[in-house]
Symmetry: C2
Subunit: 191 residues, 2 copies
Amino acid sequence: MARWEPNARERLVRAAVELFAKQGYEATTVNEIAERAGGLTKTTFFRHFADKREVLFAGQEIHGRIVAEAIAEAPASATPLEMVGLALDALAASFTQDRREIGRRLRAVIAHSAELQERSASKRVALSEAMADALRTHGISELAADLAAELGARAFYEAFDRWTSSADPRTLLEYARVVFDELKTAVSVLE
Amino acid sequence: MARWEPNARERLVRAAVELFAKQGYEATTVNEIAERAGGLTKTTFFRHFADKREVLFAGQEIHGRIVAEAIAEAPASATPLEMVGLALDALAASFTQDRREIGRRLRAVIAHSAELQERSASKRVALSEAMADALRTHGISELAADLAAELGARAFYEAFDRWTSSADPRTLLEYARVVFDELKTAVSVLE
DNA sequence: AAGGTGATGTTACTTGGTAACATCACGGTA
DNA sequence: TACCGTGATGTTACCAAGTAACATCACCTT
């Protein structure tokens, strides 16, 4: 038999989500999480996650890579918004329907903690910057890239919100497309 | 003679900025800041600021009030972007030229710390939401309000950046107008 | 059989942040 | 003049996040 059970990282995430949901983020200590994740310790927790918040956001680096890749593969003739549309599609499509329950719980936990909302906002900025970088590499001008990327990030987070709030069985991809269309319409109403 | 020198809060801010600039945010302890601010203690620091980061951002609640008021006073016939333009003008005009040096130092300090950038992003979201709320109150639809507010916040932060980066004597208001115009132009290039 | 590797634990420490209680100049009031 | 309440501060003691250095020990390779 192995000395340690495998998948410590996953177990830590599960334990953290459960404890945060039950008793709140601030009332949960890292020691508790580690202990519940199969008798681990604080030290091990911090070997896997940079800080206590990060246990809920780890793995999101891949989102940046997905959107960057989608934009890199877009035809050079596409408009900025078309490129962002492709990125959004790729990102949303990477969420299978069974991740919705996890997303639901995550959203609830984050909604109760200012500290987690701050980190969430920070991740959103990172996603937006990944898209903006890719757009600039594709020849889009500075400000236009920033704006288009912001639109994409906004669409993704709004779609995620609706996806995890509602009970009907639509996919995240469907929500993303709806929201993105709404946003494009809203842009034309600004002025 | 008074038992305590007055203006403890200001002294704490000054001490913090100086120490952060000299030795970095993370290498500076709250005790150090309090000590340098005239022999105060940690306890007093936390009576004035909710946490260590906040010492650099305290006082920004007023920004939200400024933009909200400007939008509230805008004519109902104005477009969302016109309302945001008024809000931006009011906010930028509230920065006198002598605050530029402080802004410069602030920007440098924040640029060196991920933790401070996170808080800064959070403050930016707050500013954007203050504008969006005011716009909705003024009858603007949900998404359009969000987008217009985002545009305004983006313009303000970009203008602040240019203002504190450059040596020429233009006011923040001038920068804000230039950036806002550029952003509006960029919007029309998206598609 | 020996030695290296990797994920973990142990111990000890610093610092951010909180809570409860103590101090004492000041300003007013009797 | 003597007293009292108040407000900003200090003191002490504590908890929890996060770091560093070193120890352990199953497993794999040679």
